[in-house]
Symmetry: C2
Subunit: 338 residues, 2 copies
């Protein structure tokens, strides 16, 4: 193959690896056109719960739903689940603030869904969520020496855009849509930045309170106290968390995501990673050559990432699984739904 499976070697060989996924909602995902993570804007609120169910049990049985996007792409959660089956590492699911009750056990910090940052402070309980994230980070430290930390927040690329810009980055963000609705996201972001300007929020946690989502303070808190090596699994949303950590003067984790995020020209991901002063590893699961029409759509810019999929692929590789074995496992799993 001409392209390496992983863009660079992060030089991490975990002995006791753990994966954790921080789930949350933001009311922004119910704004028509913002989020591609669900069949309708309202139903995007259910996506983290269905993803959690799929990753934990291997199937969605609580509602009649298939883990495919409206255009027939397997969801990122199917990729994450296939890696759970390959590696035996089941992620710790963390409920940072969901609109609906999960159908599988979650480590719950007892937050609430994020509000619409155009109208109100999005995460009023940001200080408590950061602190509970710190508690979770200490807890997970006891039971692992490496943490792959990802997220699932429909609409979260828009909160990420708001947070990155409020922190001073000239950022753009990625999208689950092939055609990134950047005009809409920009419009939301301008309104949010205007409101932040009025309230005078300037400290990193104040910015999260005003414009973020509940995943962000929880993930930042976890990264602040986690004692072992940590990689952030994801694209622009986890990058926003990394930027918050930098602004707080804390350790800034590196990222692991898919080449589809890197290759999204609208996101400018690589530039913002450099601006934040961290590094990203890009995994190429060769979905173009796998022989699955839905997975191939990732390569033309659909879905791209989510539910820690890029990190799950990376973790399997770091644990010693061969690229061919990894790609075949994804193909076999998603073929059950084809």
């Amino acid at each position: 193959m001409s392209h390496p499976f992983l863009s660079q070697d992060p030089l991490i060989r975990p002995h006791r690896p753990m994966m954790a996924l921080v789930l949350g909602n933001t009311m922004l995902s119910t704004v028509p056109g913002i989020s591609g993570a669900g069949p309708t804007p309202e139903k995007t609120l259910l996506t983290p719960i269905l993803d959690a169910e799929l990753v934990t049990t291997g199937a969605i049985t609580s509602v009649p739903a298939r883990p495919n996007t409206p255009t027939g792409c397997p969801t990122p959660a199917t990729i994450t689940r296939s890696m759970v089956e390959l590696t035996g590492i089941a992620p710790v699911l963390i409920n940072a603030g969901l609109a609906h009750t999960p159908t599988v056990p979650c480590l719950d910090v007892y937050g609430r869904p994020g509000g619409d940052p155009r109208k109100e402070d999005a995460v009023p309980q940001v200080a408590a969520l950061f602190e509970r994230g710190e508690t979770v980070g200490r807890l997970l430290s006891q039971y692992s020496d490496f943490l792959m930390l990802g997220e699932c927040v429909p609409g979260g690329t828009t909160t990420a855009l708001c947070v990155l810009r409020a922190l001073g980055y000239e950022a753009s963000v990625s999208s689950a849509f092939a055609k990134n609705p950047l005009g809409l996201k920009d419009a939301v972001c301008r309104e949010v930045l205007a409101r932040i300007g009025e309230t005078g929020a300037g400290e990193p946690l104040e910015i999260l309170r005003a414009a973020g989502d509940p995943m962000m303070p929880v993930a930042a808190g976890i990264a602040s106290t986690y004692a072992g090596e940590i990689l952030f699994a994801g694209g622009t949303q986890m990058l926003a968390v990394a930027a918050v950590l930098k602004a707080l003067g804390k350790r800034v984790p590196r990222l692991a995501t898919t080449v589809y995020v890197r290759d999204d020209p609208s996101a400018g991901f690589v530039r913002t990673v450099a601006d934040v002063g961290t590094a990203a590893y890009f995994v190429d699961p060769n979905f173009a050559g796998i022989g699955h029409v839905g997975l191939a759509r990732y390569c033309i810019g659909e879905v791209k990432e989510g539910m820690g999929a890029g990190g799950a692929l990376t973790l399997a590789y770091l644990m010693g699984h061969e690229p061919g074995e990894i790609t075949r496992k994804v193909f076999d799993f998603v073929s059950k739904y084809a």
Copy 2:
């Protein structure tokens, strides 16, 4: 010392020990006189949350409360917390069904508080809770090779009595009161058994549905799938879970608890342990000789056990801490509140 710290050596030397505590409520604790785990019957519903806060953070700050019983005994949670500080092992807290929202992160299975089994099925969602317990057991297996599993359910000795008797044991149970309100518990139990007789509940999970509390199916599920060594931390409540596992034909864990449970003449603990066909290890933290008047009251039969205290002391010992060091640590911690 004439008495050994631990009654027998369980021959377990954990490499990757984990402790987990299953928290739940039963409406029986609000029946006046049933539970000593709280300043008033209604406030017993808060006890698991305050215990969780103390064990996790080292202090109760969410409400103005001291971790002492009305008679001035340090609560069992203070013992558990002191062992967290000694060993560095922070327990995984599991929310099986609580009346109030926890103030610290919990692994939540999204159950509900148990109903009053005299009037209604106590745990209607028993099958889902057992299954989610199985999921938790698989998850915890990945990150540890030994599990000390305890509980905190105010009023739970009464549900334990109902379950043990419904399973056919001539059991009595222990109590946090020095004077065990056995007449009251017996009266509740007769009503519950009469109702079970009418409904015809006979299978172990049917009995839990009718007469148990949410902790029981969750703990039973965890023990069913946990891959490593497991000890149950607690007295009659965990023994009821062990009896359910035996009735289900599953592995029956051994127990670790305090000598104060063994020496409660009203509980007949040792006999029921033998009837269930398992073994129990009894830890003697020498609270009589420690020089703390509140801890000494354990020796005259108050409190006795709870929040995995006996298991936490046992775990510290199995991890190589000396008895004198363990007892001194408990004394130092509770003295902060004296």
